[in-house]
């Protein structure tokens, strides 16, 4: 199995529901406004206008063309982040998910520098939540010996990123096992896919040629972000219009 996501930009209404769902699913802390201004806000799933930095072709108001892009981790097949990690705190598992082990990360931030998509976030300070929010954190986590992943609350000084809600995958597998049946790929979707207002996101196994994502990946509208940098992302966008 190789997990992949398709985002149909025609259906995306840029409501940022995916960002909020992700934040609550994965216990991403909200930072103070003063920190957010300095670019230290954490949005594993970000929504922003494209191109994000103005170029000569962007145009001036009112003659502008604005598109929006939602950006989870690309879970690249050739991820630049795992190649540079000195301690294997980030790695690609056998199902193509690029995962992050909080118990291993030494906070050198080489992966954040190497990622061309900017999907990786560093914990500049220890996370804080308002009193009521702190009582409603997602208890899910992936924990083992020398391993801590998923929504587990991250300490300061380490890097975190979108995991395609890998804890949901684990839970779905455990449920199938408890019920004594085989696991089906359609039993698992990340929180952003589940919540998407415009039903613009699809998720599934791209190794199965008949899955929705495989069929959509063949669409003439399909493209990937920065194909020229050789990362082979597994998030496939469908062009607008």
């Amino acid at each position: 199995m190789r997990w992949s996501m398709v985002i149909d930009l025609d259906k995306c209404v840029a409501c940022q529901g995916c960002s909020i769902a992700c934040r609550f699913e994965n216990n991403t802390p909200a930072v103070k406004p003063s920190e957010a201004v300095r670019g230290r806000a954490m949005r594993w799933n970000d929504v922003f206008p494209m191109p994000i930095n103005p170029t000569e072709d962007t145009g001036d108001y009112p003659n502008v063309q604005t598109r929006y892009l939602t950006r989870p981790c690309m879970h690249c097949d050739n991820p630049p982040c795992i190649k540079v990690c000195p301690v294997q705190a980030t790695y690609k598992d056998e199902e193509g998910l690029v995962r992050q082990n909080y118990a291993r990360c030494i906070g050198c931030r080489f992966c954040t520098v190497a990622c061309p998509y900017g999907v990786r976030y560093f914990n500049w300070h220890a996370p804080e939540w308002d009193a009521s929010l702190a009582q409603h954190l997602n208890p899910d986590r992936i924990q083992g010996e020398d391993d801590l992943e998923g929504p587990a609350v991250r300490p300061k000084g380490i890097v975190e990123k979108c995991t395609f809600c890998v804890h949901r995958l684990q839970k779905a597998r455990a449920r199938a096992k408890a019920e004594g049946r085989a696991f089906r790929p359609d039993e698992y979707v990340p929180a952003c896919v589940q919540t998407c207002t415009g039903k613009a996101r699809y998720f599934g196994d791209v190794d199965d040629p008949n899955s929705t994502v495989s069929l959509l990946a063949k669409s003439p509208r399909a493209f990937r972000l920065f194909e020229d940098v050789g990362t082979h992302p597994k998030v496939i966008y469908l062009r607008e219009g």
């Binding site: 670019g39 994000i52 930095n53 931030r109 190497a114 061309p116 914990n123 300061k156 890097v159 920065f226």
Partner: protein, 534 residues
């Protein structure tokens, strides 16, 4: 008992056993700066790296710049002294010790920067326990470790006979620990023939081994950047570019350190014009190579104008990094001028009225005035007048461009005026050039790291300004470097005693060789034709 030349004893050994208030005050001042740095670091540990000015996307900042800078400085020593030893350059003898000390201490301070920069320094051992050799950081760990061990050995080997000399020439009243230190470090050195042969062989082997290791160190630091796909870094010339820059800044540091040692300890008779002239030639060459690499690197980006890469270059040429970029260029030009032009000047130039410090001062003042007028804010009348002139002269040459040309011309005039003054003071000239280069190379590291970091592909462009934490830790790092240098040269002679003594023997032997003067052509013909001069 090893004997020592009384000249060397007076200049090199005796000061080690006299501690004046100057030394103590310097140590106290450096310790104060280090103490402040330790306090700021503990604060950073408690509150997190958020105490620095680093942000998303500027994940690497001053600490990374410091790391590359200090590792670059470390190339002063070992590489230069190894190359000079291998090539048998006799003039190296009085400066090898200083050079090798710079290497060892700069490596310690440089490595410290990485630990300061880590989010979880408590997990430092993971790099060994779970290290992935595929990661450029691991390459760096391996090469820096090898370089550190190699350069400490390389510092220690030539120190061994000196330690034995110190052991045998300690004055009365030397503390016991100091005697023990020299005895242990001398490793039972007696100066027998076998011992000398072994030492010479060991030094020769180390000198050859250390050269590729030193080159690998800075190449790998550049590969940390070049192996990513980030705009401005993904460049194939980064390896040699960084090595050249490292040697270049290393010579700068060496000039400053050896002049300081010469001045403080009064070693004018050891470190003389010969060292300054030869090292200065090497310095000017590295300056030219560095300029060539810098130009080549920027040209390929400028000509390509790729959407990701060009904003990085644009920010350096006329954007928010223009001050640091153009100041760097200006410093390097000044360094080159100071090193080269006074040497080209004939001695008779002093008679020409233009080549006077007076003229230089006048030129500089005028240049500053014109530059101030050119950059004066819009509300000043002179600026408005300039704009008006610009409007009128639209068809002709632009007034402001002309103004800048005048500034450049005046600067050249200043450079010419000051040249004979510099020619008469080669040491001052070298230190000016070295200061320019060391600051310029620090800016160069900044101009490589920060513009790329703040111009990523898919994150909004950002600004980066270091905080007090980063400034304090940088100051503390410099102070630590100075302190190690100071303490080391309080314990050991700044000039390798035995190497200088060996050099004297070689010089003396060479002076005895008589090279006959060539026979005049006329005399030779007469001899060949058998004509006796009658």
């Amino acid at each position: 008992m090893l004997k020592v030349d009384p000249r060397d004893k007076e200049k090199l050994i005796d000061p080690l056993f006299r501690t004046g208030p100057r030394f103590q005050w310097a140590v106290v001042a450096l310790l104060a700066v280090i103490g402040w740095g330790v306090y700021m670091y503990v604060r950073q540990l408690v509150f997190g790296l958020g105490e620095t000015g680093m942000t998303r996307p500027d994940y690497w900042g001053v600490y990374m710049v410091n790391f590359i800078f200090f590792i670059g400085i470390s190339h002063a020593g070992t590489l230069i002294s190894a190359i000079l030893r291998v090539t048998g350059a006799e003039w190296r003898r009085p400066i090898t010790r200083v050079a090798e000390a710079i290497t060892a201490f700069a490596l310690v301070v440089g490595t410290l920067q990485i630990i300061i920069d880590m989010g979880r320094p408590d997990r430092l051992m993971f790099v060994i326990l779970h290290g992935r050799l595929q990661s450029p950081i691991l390459w760096d760990v391996v090469s820096v470790t090898a370089y550190f061990l190699g350069s400490v050995t390389y510092l220690y080997l030539p120190l061994m006979p000196d330690a034995a000399i110190l052991r045998d020439n300690c004055p009365e009243g030397t503390p016991a620990w100091q005697r023990t230190l020299y005895t242990v470090l001398a490793l039972g050195w007696k100066g027998t023939r076998t011992q000398w042969e072994r030492l010479e062989k060991a030094i020769a082997v180390m000198a050859v081994i250390i050269i590729p290791v030193a080159i690998s160190v800075h190449t790998i630091i550049s590969w940390i950047l070049a192996t990513t796909v980030q705009p401005g870094w993904h460049s194939s010339i980064f390896g040699p570019y960084f090595v050249v820059g490292a040697i270049f800044s290393g010579i700068g540091a060496l000039f400053i350190a050896m002049t300081a040692v010469r001045k403080v300890l009064g070693l004018e008779q050891y470190i003389g014009p010969r060292q300054y002239r030869n090292l200065g030639l090497l310095f000017a060459t590295m300056n030219a190579i560095w300029a060539y690499f810098t130009y080549a690197e920027q040209l390929s980006i400028a000509a390509g104008q790729q959407l990701d890469e060009f904003p990085v270059l644009a920010s350096k040429l006329w954007g928010e990094f223009a001050p640091s970029f153009w100041v760097m260029v200006a410093l390097m030009v000044v360094a080159f001028w100071v090193l080269v032009i006074p040497k080209l000047l004939p001695a008779s130039a002093e008679r020409v009225p233009v080549f006077r410090p007076r003229y230089a001062l006048a030129s500089a003042t005028l240049a500053v005035v014109v530059a101030l007028v050119l950059i004066s804010p819009q509300r000043f009348p002179v600026s408005l007048a300039l704009n008006a002139a610009q409007q009128i002269a639209l068809t002709g040459p632009a007034v402001r461009t002309l103004g800048w040309a005048v500034v450049v011309l005046l600067m050249v005039g200043m450079g010419l005026g000051i040249s004979p003054w510099l020619k008469a003071r080669p040491v001052t000239a070298s230190v000016i050039a070295a200061g320019c280069v060391v600051v310029g190379m620090y800016l160069e590291r900044w101009n490589i790291i920060v513009p790329t970091m703040t111009h990523p592909r898919l994150i909004p462009y950002a600004l980066y300004s270091p905080t007090l934490t980063e400034a304090s830790l940088t100051a503390a790092s410099l102070a630590l470097f100075g302190l190690m240098f100071l303490v080391f040269f309080k314990l050991f002679p700044a000039v390798s005693i035995w190497e200088v003594a060996e050099g004297r023997v070689i010089e003396e032997a060479e002076s005895k060789i008589v090279i006959p003067a060539p026979e005049p052509t006329e005399a030779r013909r007469m001899r060949q034709w058998g004509i006796k001069k009658g």
